[in-house]
């Protein structure tokens, strides 16, 4: 058993060498931080004046009902035709909109934001970190 453990430890340590080299030199190495991407907006920036944005919630109905940003209107690609009239009606020209979905990893907000931009009503941002980031900020 001791020999097995030593062998396993040796393998674990050996793998560190190419992993470190990959972290330094691999052309497709991953980022260790998540900068604000194009079309995204950081929560800190939004929280300076949350009332100046139109909030759009791109999560399923069940999640929206559990909780959402105050005043947020629900809009998902699956139910676009049913939901978009209410959003357009509530969206004054020139007012920036912030679209969010459940977390950093979800893609719904990006898809909804892309389609909303086509209306040219105002700037459309995707909230970085989504609902998870919003909830985190409320807990602080």
């Amino acid at each position: 058993m001791r020999r097995s453990l030593l062998q396993a430890i040796a393998l674990v340590l050996l793998a560190l060498v190419p992993a470190t080299l990959s972290a330094l030199f691999h052309p497709r190495r991953p980022a260790f931080s998540d900068p604000v991407g194009p079309g995204e907006i950081a929560l800190a920036e939004v929280l300076r004046n949350p009332g100046s944005f139109l909030w759009v919630d791109a999560r399923p109905d069940a999640e929206y009902l559990k909780g959402h940003v105050p005043g947020a209107l629900r809009l998902m690609e699956d139910e676009w035709d049913d939901l978009v009239p209410a959003v357009l009606q509530a969206w004054p020209t020139g007012k920036p909109a912030v679209v969010y979905c459940s977390a950093r990893q979800c893609e719904n907000s990006k898809a909804v934001a892309a389609r909303l931009r086509e209306f040219n009503v105002g700037q459309v941002h995707v909230l970085k970190g989504g609902w998870e980031a919003w909830q985190g900020a409320q807990k602080k």
Partner: protein
């Protein structure tokens, strides 16, 4: 004769399990940025953790898989692979329970959306084969 057949079966299982891990590791090591996204989708780690896993895990799979397939440090490689299979099992169950609709990332980004029962079945089959190999290894 029976002993020889048994040895052949164990050798075959060793090469299959080791080969699967070696192959999966190579696919992931080729594009760690994409694999980091797959790891991140499990929502178990912060982004830096997902990046670290995406850089390290493929190489551990490559080394352990190669060692097992070649019969060098076989017991140690079995131990590492058993640990990896247990970790994958937990991650898959956790994603399934949370209803995440994600790419498994088990073999790089080549597979489609996760088929959780199938992923668990493959995990269990590899574990069973590994148990046979480990018991029969010297």
């Amino acid at each position: 004769m029976a002993g020889r057949a048994e040895k052949m079966i164990v050798l075959l299982l060793r090469v299959i399990v080791g080969g699967v891990f070696f192959y999966a590791g190579v696919l992931k090591a080729m594009d760690p940025a994409l694999f980091a996204k797959d790891v991140d989708n499990y929502r178990l780690l912060p982004i830096a953790g997902a990046a670290a896993v995406a850089l390290y895990l493929p190489w551990l799979e490559i080394f352990a898989g190669a060692a097992l397939a070649m019969g060098v440090w076989g017991r140690g490689a079995s131990l590492v692979i058993a640990g990896l299979l247990a970790a994958f099992f937990i991650a898959i169950i956790s994603a399934w329970m949370r209803g995440l609709d994600i790419v498994c990332g088990c073999f790089g980004h080549t597979a489609g959306k996760s088929n959780y029962p199938l992923s668990l079945l493959i995990d269990a089959a590899l574990f069973a084969a590994l148990c046979i190999v480990a018991r029969r290894s010297q």
